[in-house]
Amino acid sequence: MPYIPHDAEETAAMLAAVGVNSLDALFDEIPSSLQVHDMVLPEGLSEMALRRELEGRALANAPLVCFAGGGAYAHHIPAIVWEIAARGEFYSAYTPYQPEASQGTLQVLYEYQSFITRLTGLEVSNASLYDGASGLAEACLMALRIQGSEKSILVPENLLPSWRSVLDTVLGMQNIRLQAVPYDPNSGTLQIPGDASDAAALIVPQINAFGLLESVDKLTDWAHAQGLLTIAVVNPLALAMLKAPGDWGGKGADMAVGEGQPMGIPLTGGGPYFGFLACRKTHVRQLPGRLVAKTVDAQGRTGYCLTLQAREQHIRRGKATSNICTNQGLMVTAATIHMATLGSHGLQETASCCHTRSRQLRELLAALPGVSFPYAGAFFHEWVLRLPMSATAVRDALLGHGLLAGIPLREWEMGEPGDLLVCTTELLEEADLLTYRDALKSVLEAQ
């Protein structure tokens, strides 16, 4: 019996101790009309057979050199990251509600919070949320609680559309209005919004959905002048190079939220990732999710424990700051080890390499006839390529060359039919860039 260790003798002895004569008798309080004895499930497999079947499935996903980004990025993950994160002591532990038996997890979370505050330049980070998009929804709800009476959020139209969808779902349930902030069609970057009446906060994506950098100082100062909070949406790796949200404008952004996946989390088709959320200390009581603090025991030894739990659902129930119960503990463990392994230097070098590759590829492609770049502004590691034919057709054709060439913007209902969002990371070598150019050239010439 897979994973059930009882032999017949033990089973019999235990049934006798309980005072029943069969396993079925343990369910004698359940009306028999509700009990079923068979279900439409396949028979079980041995571990060996299962491995064979799943290895086949894994191979059915074509291995591709990845030039796609759009919120999920292919990065190198040092071997030590998952070697340690997957240790049973981290992998199979529960939420650290018994702090004496969870100092490992708790200290990791404290270090994670410290790393995120340094990346974002804000004072407090929670112990993570489900993913970047749901984290942004939580940040919006937090801003509404802080601001009190306002009932809407200013949402840029060049925010990743999947993130916008999550805001629609979560905020829509509470009848919170999302006011669109348009972008300049020529530059692809945000225009200063016209109207801020009844809004609690402005979302500023620094890197927007086109891969472009926004004038974050100007936007932050405008929001503060209107009495709005600024919610920065950031890529944690890019923060090794880009201005920290805490330094945006005269007063700094009030909250920073982002997708943590670039920090040591495998792509795995879309998850699990983790969302980070950092804020000013003055707003900590409105921060959703778990938070770890450093303290001492009776003998004065340093220890770590969950704190401000009275904000959370298991105590406040219907009055909690959020219904969230989990953080993405294991993902955060990996991310913490990843950040510690790379350090400031490694993260800066990685960020710089992503950026350099992006400039190189753009230069290579600029020489191809018929292609152009609709947006001229500064970028980090992602930009829009305008093709003289359908970007979806090009993307599909390049699959045959072993390349995932990017994301056609039309799949997001943005841009022109020829627009392809292309991303480069440190994983790509110069030879990969040349392969991309040559393959694209041949696809365009075959037209």
Binding site: R285, Q309, A310, R316, K319
Partner: protein
């Protein structure tokens, strides 16, 4: 046995009220309440100018593992808040009738007169 000073008046929701004269009343939580709640780590006291309605929720008290609503013991308007509680919520535990006071409100003397005296509150607190 918790302390219940004779000089104060009390609500059934475990707040005490002290008559400061001139229609001003100081409000806090009782020794019995702080003992029930345990080590307090945060007090959310209503803003100055806020109008209070007796028996309704006007703030929150948080201990390590519990959160309790703070009720207004009396109709009135908030005049002062004890800002010392922001940094030292433990004052609520250590000195609930002194340095752990929460707010001063403007109220009618008739509302004050309607509150329990120490003997009546003792019956509730010890029940």
């Amino acid at each position: 046995m918790s302390k219940i000073p004779e000089s104060l008046r009390y609500s059934s929701t475990h707040e005490w009220v002290e008559d400061l004269g001139d229609g001003r009343y100081r409000v806090g939580i009782t020794d019995h309440a702080q003992a029930l709640l345990g080590d307090l780590v945060y007090a959310e006291v209503p803003e100055i100018e806020k109008n209070l309605q007796a028996g309704t929720v006007c703030g929150v008290l948080e201990s390590v593992k519990a959160a309790a609503d703070l009720y207004a013991p009396i109709d009135g308007k908030v005049l002062e808040r004890n800002e010392a509680l922001n940094d030292s919520p433990q004052l609520l535990n250590e000195d609930p009738y002194g340095q752990g006071w929460m707010m001063v409100v403007a109220a009618e003397s008739s509302a004050y007169a309607g509150l329990m005296d120490a003997a009546a509150y003792a019956n509730i607190a010890e029940a």
